[in-house]
């Protein structure tokens, strides 16, 4: 299965600033996803990153707050914009190579907003 490298692994940011998280997959994958995992909770899907087109956002998440890029089949970025302490969370990248392949996750980015 695909191996995902995600960076940074953690960061502490000032409120009002933005952070861009990078996700690199070691092979071409059909689909890439971004999740948020708040402390002690489960994973919530933010959006599906579409190669060459705008991301598909889940209810409660908007492009202005979480702009996503996916320039090719192995790379995606998630930006957390105009951060507030409520954005403190773990952000996880996931990839799916297609039928008969699993859904793989990166190690996550632990974000603290102060």
């Amino acid at each position: 299965s695909a191996v995902i490298s995600q960076k940074p692994s953690r960061d502490i940011c000032q409120r009002g600033t933005s952070l861009t998280i990078q996700c690199q997959v070691d092979s071409q994958v059909t689909m890439m996803f971004w999740y948020r995992q708040q402390p002690g909770q489960s994973l919530t899907l933010i959006a599906t990153a579409n190669q060459g087109s705008e991301a598909t956002y889940e209810s409660g998440f908007v492009i202005d707050k979480f702009p996503i890029s996916r320039p090719n089949l192995t790379f995606s970025t998630l930006t957390v914009s105009n951060m507030s302490p409520e954005d403190s969370s773990i952000y996880l990248c996931s990839a799916h190579a297609g039928p008969n392949y699993g859904y793989t996750f990166g190690s996550g980015t632990r974000l603290t907003v102060v």
């Binding site: 489960s42 994973l43 899907l45 996880l92 699993g102 859904y103 996750f105 190690s107 996550g108």
Partner: protein, 112 residues
């Protein structure tokens, strides 16, 4: 949309015991399920999966059971070891949509 939830938030067992983690799902259109293990500071790791045309699947020390009638699945871990201590999530998929929905998670604590 679908919701997937768990019955027990924390499960404490002794080393060597068998562990059973349960999960309920709401969307009868879900046709693929995955169990993940998440250790502290890491992303979810695949354990085992099952498709809706099966009711049981076995891996190494793990078994997943699926009961479509009551929309329930479980993860059984045999001879639980301290290294099994982690949070376990079930996730469901309607293959027509290709996005996973995660349950709340159960923390498994294994005492030596």
């Amino acid at each position: 949309g679908e919701s997937v939830g768990l019955h027990l938030p924390t499960l404490s067992v002794q080393e060597g015991d068998n562990s059973i983690i349960n999960c309920a799902y709401s969307n009868s259109a879900s046709d693929y399920f995955i169990w993940y293990k998440q250790e502290s500071g890491k992303g979810p790791q695949f354990i085992i999966d099952i498709r809706s045309n099966m009711d049981k699947r076995q891996g190494q020390r793990v078994t997943v059971l699926l009961n479509k009638t009551v929309k329930h699945l479980s993860l059984q871990i045999a001879a639980t070891q301290p290294g099994d201590s982690a949070v376990y999530f079930c996730a469901g998929l309607n293959s027509g949509y290709s996005t996973l929905t995660f349950g709340k998670g159960t923390m498994l604590l294994v005492s030596p």
